[in-house]
């Protein structure tokens, strides 16, 4: 492991890679701050640029963007009560009231320190857990992988917003259907191309991500421009207040951060869960463990109430790298986008990544530490300046997002068919989003589609067409039982809620 850490440090500490983390954190913070634009959009916009780099550098850049966007999301949550990303919704519960009391600077500083601590602690957990998990995952066979993918897709659907399970499952199926377009990987038989040569190689992952996130996000913002419920609130940037945290507040944070980081990391590790659930759970747990006097302050500007979700969402970000790097199963929609980018680099994540590409594996883990430090250095003094980006008029912002989306696709294929296809998918996605059909399950399914078919093919061929492979191995059976448990738990919760 020491050798691996050194390899990672050597790769992560090159001038180019440090610069990439810095650029990523800065760019991510800005994108994450813009309401509606989250880490997935930020990473999607980065993918075409990363193809010019080697895989380690490209991933380091994307990891920086990820952390930056999550922190940026907190900024708009605190200043505008308009979370840039779903993972920072819980941050606004106490961050926004604090800002309204004239303590916006303090709230941003608490968020920055909590994010830093949560991220650093979870990077330490990741450092020790990832190698052992990768050893365990070496025992996985095709049926286990197939079952694991079913678990990942079911989990992301079950953990999507309230009462949306069936909608999310429909999006999963749509993602898998989109992934099935093009040549079959084994027989080279073309499927669903309708004799269009442009579809022979299938639909590009970047195209689907750009269409369903960046472009449809831009179209949604324009569409809802006059909607009073989504109108962005203005904030006086001159009233940020002091960013100093006093001793009493620090004492509260010392207790909150360790427990929230553990929750965040563990939730992040679960395929399909991610930062949103982690932050809500940490907020709920914190509310239950504090004394009655502190409990009263929740929702009115509590330090614990702000620190807990902030620590947890950053810890979950690192946690979600565990299943992605060691099993090839993304822990969140954002890591699904990164998984697609990795496959684009020709790197196959999974247990063998640890052995075949140790420099990628370790440099990502090492760059997380560096990313955390840079985020803190970058964000604390720049808080008042970064916040000004919130004032960028949408008349400029939207065309620029569209520009980056279309250019990103054009420079990959130099083909206008892809531009039309992207517009078509974006229009459908915008319409679906209006009616709360979630997009992350679609992306996760699109990324996993090929691998899922491949593992099902192997399993069925080995078992001579029998579905017994689903319960032949204890591991496969355990994973499937977990999947069933998640579905049953989801329906049980829905009934209880009614």
């Amino acid at each position: 492991m020491i050798e691996g850490i050194l390899i990672g440090l050597t790769t992560a500490l090159t001038l180019q890679n440090i610069l990439m983390v810095m650029v990523g954190c800065f760019f991510g913070t800005i994108i994450g701050m813009l309401p509606g634009l989250g880490p997935m959009t930020a990473i999607a916009l980065m993918i075409p640029i990363t193809y010019g780099f080697d895989p380690a550098t490209g991933l380091i850049l994307m990891a920086g963007v990820y952390y930056g966007a999550v922190f940026g999301g907190s900024t708009s949550s605190i200043l505008l009560n308009a979370p840039g990303v779903p993972g920072t919704v819980a941050t606004s519960f106490d961050g926004y009231p604090m800002a309204q009391q004239g303590k916006a600077g303090k709230a941003l500083a608490i968020a920055a320190w909590s994010s830093f601590a949560g991220g650093t602690l979870s990077a330490i957990y990741l450092l020790f857990m990832a190698p052992s998990l990768s050893k365990v995952s070496l025992s996985f066979r095709s049926p286990d992988y197939f079952a694991l993918m079913i678990l990942g897709l079911t989990a992301i659907a079950a953990f999507s917003s309230k009462g949306q399970f069936l909608k999310a499952m429909m999006m999963v199926v749509l993602g898998l259907m989109l992934a099935s377009v093009g040549q079959d990987s084994l027989s080279d038989i073309t499927r669903f191309t309708f004799d269009n040569m442009n579809l022979t190689d299938g639909i590009s992952f970047v195209l689907v991500v750009m269409a369903t996130f960046a472009m449809s996000e831009a179209l949604t913002i324009i569409l809802k421009r006059n909607d009073p419920t989504s109108a962005a609130k203005q904030v006086s940037l001159t009233e940020l207040g002091s960013i100093k945290i006093n001793k009493e507040e620090r004492t509260k944070m010392y207790k909150t951060i360790p427990r929230s980081s553990i929750i965040g990391f563990l939730i992040g590790v679960l395929p399909g869960a991610g930062a949103t659930i982690a932050s809500f759970l940490a907020y709920g747990m914190e509310r239950n463990v504090v004394n009655d006097e502190e409990k009263e302050k929740f929702g009115k500007g509590s330090v614990n109430g702000l620190s807990a979700p902030e620590t947890a969402n950053n810890a979950a970000c690192s946690g979600s790298f565990v299943p992605m790097l060691t099993l090839g199963i993304p822990g969140s929609g954002t890591t699904a986008v990164m998984l697609g980018a990795l496959l684009g680099f020709g790197v196959q994540p999974g247990p063998r990544l640890y052995m075949t590409n140790p420099e990628i594996f370790w440099s990502i883990i090492m760059s997380m530490y560096i990313g955390m430090v840079i985020l803190l250095i970058l964000n604390l003094p720049l808080i008042p300046y970064i916040a000004r980006i919130l004032a960028v008029p949408k008349n400029y912002l939207i065309p620029l997002i569209l520009f980056f989306s279309v250019t990103g696709i054009y420079v990959m294929s130099f083909n206008n068919f892809d531009i039309y296809l992207m517009i078509g998918i974006a229009v459908v996605a915008t319409f679906l989003r209006l009616y709360d059909f979630p997009m992350p399950p679609l992306i996760l399914a699109f990324v996993l589609g090929g691998l899922m078919e491949e593992n099902l093919r192997r399993s069925l061929l080995l078992s001579n067409g029998s579905w017994e492979f689903l319960w032949d191995r204890t591991l496969t059976l355990c994973i499937l039982l977990t999947t069933i448990l998640i579905v049953v738990w989801h329906f049980y919760k829905s009934i209880i809620r009614k």
Binding site: I49, G52, K162, G163, L166, K167, M170, V173, L174, L176, M177, S180, D184, S187, I189, R191, F192, L219, I222, L223, K224, R225, N226, D227, P228, P393, N395, Y396, I398, P399, L400, L402, F403, V406, T407, Y410, V411, F414, N416, I419, Y420, I423, V427, F431, L432, L434, Y435, D436, F437, M452, E453, L456, R457, L460, L461, S463, N464, G465, S494, K498
Partner: protein, 156 residues
């Protein structure tokens, strides 16, 4: 009669899944693969049935949280204009070239979104695209076909 749009979307998805399933059955496989436990049409067939199952359930089960979209507050006109501009952009980029089409795409998008600060609109379109193009073409070595710039002798 108040028709639930989510149900209409589910019905459309049901029809789409049925069409997908029909197309999946039409996939031509090699003769020796016809009776194999798994061939090129196996996975799509399962997906077609899964699509029918989930959209069918959504159609049949009662809707717990009905989503109400206030269409009066939605900016359909501007959104449609932006989509049309993007389609025109796609149709002209290969013939005219990256620089001019992208600059005009940005400029017209700013205009139709209600912007009237002409100097800022110009700066954030033509020089901005030129700088971005230099980054792609000159720094990252990504070739961008541009008949317009070639015709005026700016690009080789």
């Amino acid at each position: 009669m108040n028709i639930n749009t989510t149900k209409i979307i589910s019905l459309l998805f049901f029809i789409f899944s049925a069409f997908y399933l029909y197309t999946a059955y039409q996939i031509q496989v090699f003769a020796f693969d016809e009776n194999a436990p798994f061939n090129a049409r196996t996975f799509p067939i399962y997906l077609g049935y899964a699509g029918l199952f989930f959209s069918g359930l959504k159609l049949v089960l009662p809707e717990p949280n009905t989503i109400k979209v206030d269409h009066k507050n939605l900016e359909y006109k501007k959104t449609a204009i932006l989509i049309v501009i993007a389609i025109i952009y796609g149709a002209t980029i290969l013939k005219i070239g990256y620089f001019l089409t992208t600059s005009l795409f940005l400029f017209s998008s700013y205009y139709f979104l209600g912007e009237r600060r002409w100097i800022l609109m110009f700066l954030l379109s033509f020089p901005f695209v030129a700088a971005f193009m230099y980054l792609l073409h000159g720094v990252l070595d990504i070739y961008l076909r541009d008949p317009f710039l070639q015709s005026i002798g700016v690009m080789g």
